[in-house]
Symmetry: C2
Subunit: 168 residues, 2 copies
């Protein structure tokens, strides 16, 4: 069971952040980031050209009575907040993947999304002890406080100890 300890932020900035700085149970919030109509349409025109995302008048007649952002666009906006504020800028390895992506509520142009990210678990790698896996619950929260999207992220992060030994 997760016992949330909400922090204003990490003790270390992204360029001095390592595996050791991710503490199970910590919860962080960042943002907001704006969902802008022009970008909703441009993103979906390239990557998800369904009329609920690209065509304002067709979307107005559709199930959401207006444009909604592609779910992949919404995740992109949260990813931006993850990179700017949560991931290490110096010790992040490529992510192996994410699980349980859920688009819970429609996200409309004009929305403001905040990122809530909770450290679910951290495990030092047995085979490569210079790094560890951080499991995080990533949630997008709209301006009304509703969770609109969530997923579980896996991020491999290098340890401070290995970084120090390389520097020495």
């Amino acid at each position: 069971m997760l016992h949330p300890m909400s922090h204003p932020d990490f003790p270390t900035p992204p360029h001095k952040r390592y595996f050791e700085d991710y503490v199970k149970g910590s919860v962080f919030e960042y943002g907001p980031i704006a969902v802008e109509e022009e970008e909703v349409i441009a993103f979906a025109t390239r990557f998800d050209p369904q009329s609920i995302h690209t065509d304002r008048s067709a979307a107005a007649r559709g199930p959401f009575k207006g444009l909604i952002a592609s779910g992949w666009h919404t995740i992109g906006l949260l990813m931006r907040l993850l990179v700017d504020h949560y991931l290490s800028a110096v010790a992040s390895f490529a992510s192996p993947g994410v699980d349980e992506v859920r688009w819970i509520r429609p996200v409309r142009p004009g929305s403001q999304l905040r990122l809530r990210v909770s450290v679910l678990d951290t495990r030092l790698s047995r085979s490569k002890p210079d790094r560890g896996m951080v499991h995080s619950l990533v949630q997008g929260i709209d301006q009304e406080g509703e969770v609109v999207v969530s997923f579980k992220a896996m991020n491999l992060i290098g340890t401070r100890e290995s970084s120090a030994s390389q520097a020495g």
Copy 2:
């Protein structure tokens, strides 16, 4: 267990495609779509600004010895192929989510990605029998035939029968 039956394509085009057209075990391939350096950098600059995706010279010194696409960009390119070729253009509901996203191999500018999509299961909704859930395995295949990314998609698709009864 899945018994693949590879088809050249659906019997129906996207604008005449309904839940009944998705048959468990079917496997389709579409594409390719190009991974272009300019778009790799532009996408990541906005949504995933890590230097392995945005900075050619820093990436050249990094673990992949060159730029690689953001994993979210790679998925965006596959989503474009899904919308153009696989999903119904007339009976798709908003997707509830995807599972088991895995970034298996780096995707470099200049790559050509094909979409391979396998119908894993189909289930008519009990509570709303005008639609059903299609579970699909989505794989991105590069020009060397390697699977570079995969995820499991859930798509709610309306039935032809309900569409016909509405039209009548």
